[in-house]
């Protein structure tokens, strides 16, 4: 049980769900960003586990995971910049108040 595929998948599922729920229920943009990172990490873990237990051999999954981490760093930077600008503009980072797109 300790190092089976199932436990890894369970953990990654847990992380993804945690991230999703966080994104959906929290109203603070910074918290939402953190939750998105959580989802990404869950997915990355999934990739690593599949590579180890299912395909074996070449470390394709690990390579993709490194890419994801690098991309995540860049993406987080941009997202944080956006949040920063949003705050500067609206004096607000509560997603419920930022509803100018309301139809």
């Amino acid at each position: 049980m300790a190092s089976s595929l199932f436990s890894y998948l369970l953990l990654s599922l847990f992380l993804v769900c945690l991230g999703l729920i966080g994104v959906l229920i929290r109203r603070n943009l910074v918290i939402m960003l953190i939750c998105i990172e959580l989802i990404l990490n869950g997915v990355t873990l999934n990739l690593l586990a599949i590579n180890k237990f299912v395909t074996g051999g070449a470390a394709v999954g690990q390579v993709v995971a490194i890419f994801i981490i690098a991309l995540a760093a860049a993406e987080t930077t941009i997202a944080l910049a956006l949040i920063f600008l949003t705050f500067r503009h609206y004096k607000e980072i509560d997603s419920e108040k930022l509803n100018e797109l309301k139809g």
Binding site: V23, L24, I25, R27, L98, N99, E100, K102, G103
Partner: protein, 630 residues
């Protein structure tokens, strides 16, 4: 295209160019517009005379030129020109009467504000009529047919500020459209069934095994419905007397000589097609003679000179239609030709009188006095009346006898007797009008001192541009009948049918019809001649007959009742359905559906990031779920 057809094409399009020129450039100038229109129709007339000179013996080989308009796998629609004796004769009549009416209108319409418009519509009419006359296919004929209808509408309602004129124009349009509806349905059936509606094909229909007799009967009856509307046959005749609200030259051109004759021309043009169905022929003959009798009796009690002539036109058209239905092709076409001349003449004479007296009522004209002073108008009016009544040697005599002979030769003695009765009535009502107009003038004898001034004002005839057309038409009305006699070698037979042997004279019929006509004239003289003031004719002496005739057999009342009782309630129901079902439920309903669904869906567009995200995830999960199911 042969030489003849080129001339035909030029003659047809000359008035059209005039219409365009007047409509686009010379609307502002009355004189220039009149000049252009007259020049255009003069060109057509000259070309027609040229054509006639080239084909003096008649056209033996029908010439046709087609161009393709629409070609599908199932049918082909073509336009073009046809040239044969029939179309040549009709072109001659249309151009001649149209030209004379154009000239006459200079005097009659003098000082009218809409003169340019008047000439534009006259050009439109001439063009449309010629398009109809030269059409080699039923579809082109239908186009021309509707165009002359439109021109007729515009000209009847020319003085549209008069409510009666506007109403008459509408009535004429609606009533003829009602007939044209049948025409169009018949045309479509033929087109769908045979894929071709050229007259040449249609006239072969009787020998065509693919065409079932019932189909021919049905379609020919439908097309005859259009003819009943256009040629004012009972029960669709009621528009023609009302159409007299238009200017009198228009009545002469459209509602006497040419447009109303279009129906007769169409029967003659598609004679092979109509005669392929014995039932249709019987029907045509019966409707024609019935119309003829009804209209002739109504004319007995009319006091408006134009109305007398309008009913007389209906009556004569009925005779033509009837004899065509009875198998007398030549007699029908011949009467169409002669009638065009003398009826146009009569209308133009009436116009001259109306122009002079400012009234349509024959009794008022007689009271005002001075009819006898209008020498040319009076002489030509009497010539026209003699021709209409059918007195030897005027045109109507020969063509009416041809009708009686045709009925007798085709074994329809009953119809021949009916024509006799109608010609008695015709002679009677025509000369009733003449004798009333000629009645002595009491006014002048009593007030002798007023006579001078009165005479000075009224003692002249209409201007020359009105009397010259009268004289020209009168010459035709006197002499045109002879072309069907052995004295001229049976020229008309040779021209129209290419028959070489000369038909001998039918003395029996000639004597009988002369006696009948003279009886009619004598009777009219007995009741109206030499008397002063309003006198009642024999038809007015019996109360119920008078009521029946004055109310025009209650046909108008019947239409009124039908419109009030059936059409309007039905229209109300349809209106309700249109408003409630189609508009509120259909049009507004679909609009509201979009509106409310939009409002509902816009609830999703709340601008809340998490809702969007939640929705996307829910949909994603749903798709995954569906995927699983597969």
């Amino acid at each position: 295209m042969s030489e003849n057809l080129k001339l035909v094409a030029l003659a047809v399009f000359s008035p059209f160019i005039s219409l365009l020129l007047i409509a686009i450039f010379t609307r502002g100038s009355k004189k220039l517009s009149a000049f252009i229109a007259i020049l255009a129709i003069l060109i057509s007339m000259v070309l027609t005379i040229l054509l006639y000179a080239r084909n003096f013996e008649g056209v033996r080989q029908q010439e046709v030129y087609y161009f393709q308009w629409l070609l599908t796998d199932y049918f082909s629609l073509r336009f073009g020109f046809i040239f044969d004796s029939l179309s040549l004769g009709m072109m001659f009549i249309v151009c001649l009467v149209s030209l004379l009416v154009h000239i006459y209108s200079i005097g009659y319409m003098h000082g009218d504000k809409g003169l340019a418009r008047f000439y534009a519509w006259l050009s439109l009419f001439s063009w449309a009529m010629l398009v109809f006359v030269v059409s080699p296919t039923l579809l082109q004929a239908f186009f021309g047919w509707e165009l002359v209808g439109a021109a007729s509408f515009l000209l009847i309602g020319f003085w549209f500020h008069k409510p009666e004129a506007a109403a008459a124009a509408k009535k004429a349009f609606v009533m003829t459209r009602f007939g044209d509806f049948g025409f169009f349905v018949g045309l479509l059936i033929l087109l769908v069934t045979f894929g071709n509606i050229d007259f040449m094909t249609l006239n072969q229909m009787g020998k065509n095994l693919a065409a079932s007799p019932s189909l021919i009967t049905a379609t020919s009856l439908l097309i005859f419905m259009g003819i009943m509307g256009k040629s004012a046959q009972f029960p669709l005749h009621a528009w023609l007397p009302d159409a007299m609200e238009g200017p009198t030259p228009v009545s002469a051109l459209i509602h006497a000589a040419t447009m109303v004759a279009a129906g007769i021309y169409l029967i003659a043009r598609a004679y092979g097609f109509f005669s392929a169905s014995p039932f249709t022929m019987e029907f045509i003959a019966t409707i024609g003679i019935l119309t003829s009798f009804i209209a002739a009796t109504i004319a007995l009690v009319q006091n408006d000179v134009k109305k007398v002539m309008a009913y007389s036109t209906i009556s004569q058209l009925g005779l033509m239609i009837s004899v065509l239905g009875g198998g007398g092709y030549k007699a029908g076409v011949f009467h169409l030709f002669t009638h065009a001349f003398f009826k146009a003449l009569l209308f133009l004479c009436a116009g001259s009188l109306i122009h002079h007296f400012n009234t349509n009522d024959m009794w008022e004209m007689a009271e005002k006095g001075g009819v006898r002073k209008m020498k040319i108008t009076l002489t030509t009016l009497i010539i026209g009346s003699l021709a209409l009544a059918g007195v030897f040697p005027f045109a109507g005599f020969f063509s009416k006898d041809a009708i009686i002979v045709a009925f007798e030769q085709n074994g329809k003695e009953l119809f021949a007797y009916a024509v006799m009765v109608v010609s008695f009535l015709t002679a009677y009502y025509t000369f009733r009008m003449i004798f009333v107009l000629l009645s002595p003038e009491p006014h002048h004898e009593v007030h002798g001192e007023h006579e001078e001034g009165h005479e000075a004002h009224h003692g002249h005839d209409s201007p020359a541009n009105m009397t010259i057309p009268l004289v020209i038409l009168a010459v035709f009305a006197v002499f045109v009948g002879f072309i069907d006699t052995p004295w001229l070698g049976g020229y008309f037979d040779k021209f129209l049918l290419g028959k070489e042997e000369v038909e001998h004279l039918h003395w029996g019929v000639m004597i009988k019809s002369t006696v009948v006509v003279l009886l009619g004239i004598g009777f009219a003289y007995y009741q109206f001649g030499g008397k002063t003031g309003r006198t009642e004719g024999f038809a007015e002496k019996v109360g119920w007959i008078k009521a029946l005739l004055v109310n025009k057999y209650y046909v108008d009342d019947f239409y009124f009742l039908v419109v009030r009782g059936l059409v309007l309630p039905f229209a109300t129901v349809l209106n309700w359905i249109d408003r409630k079902v189609i508009n509120d439920t259909g049009i507004n309903g679909s609009g509201n559906l979009v509106l409310y669904s939009g409002r509902f869906l816009s609830l999703l567009m709340n601008g809340l990031l998490q809702r969007y995200l939640g929705t996307s995830i829910a949909i994603l999960l749903f798709i995954v779920f569906l995927w699983q199911l597969i």
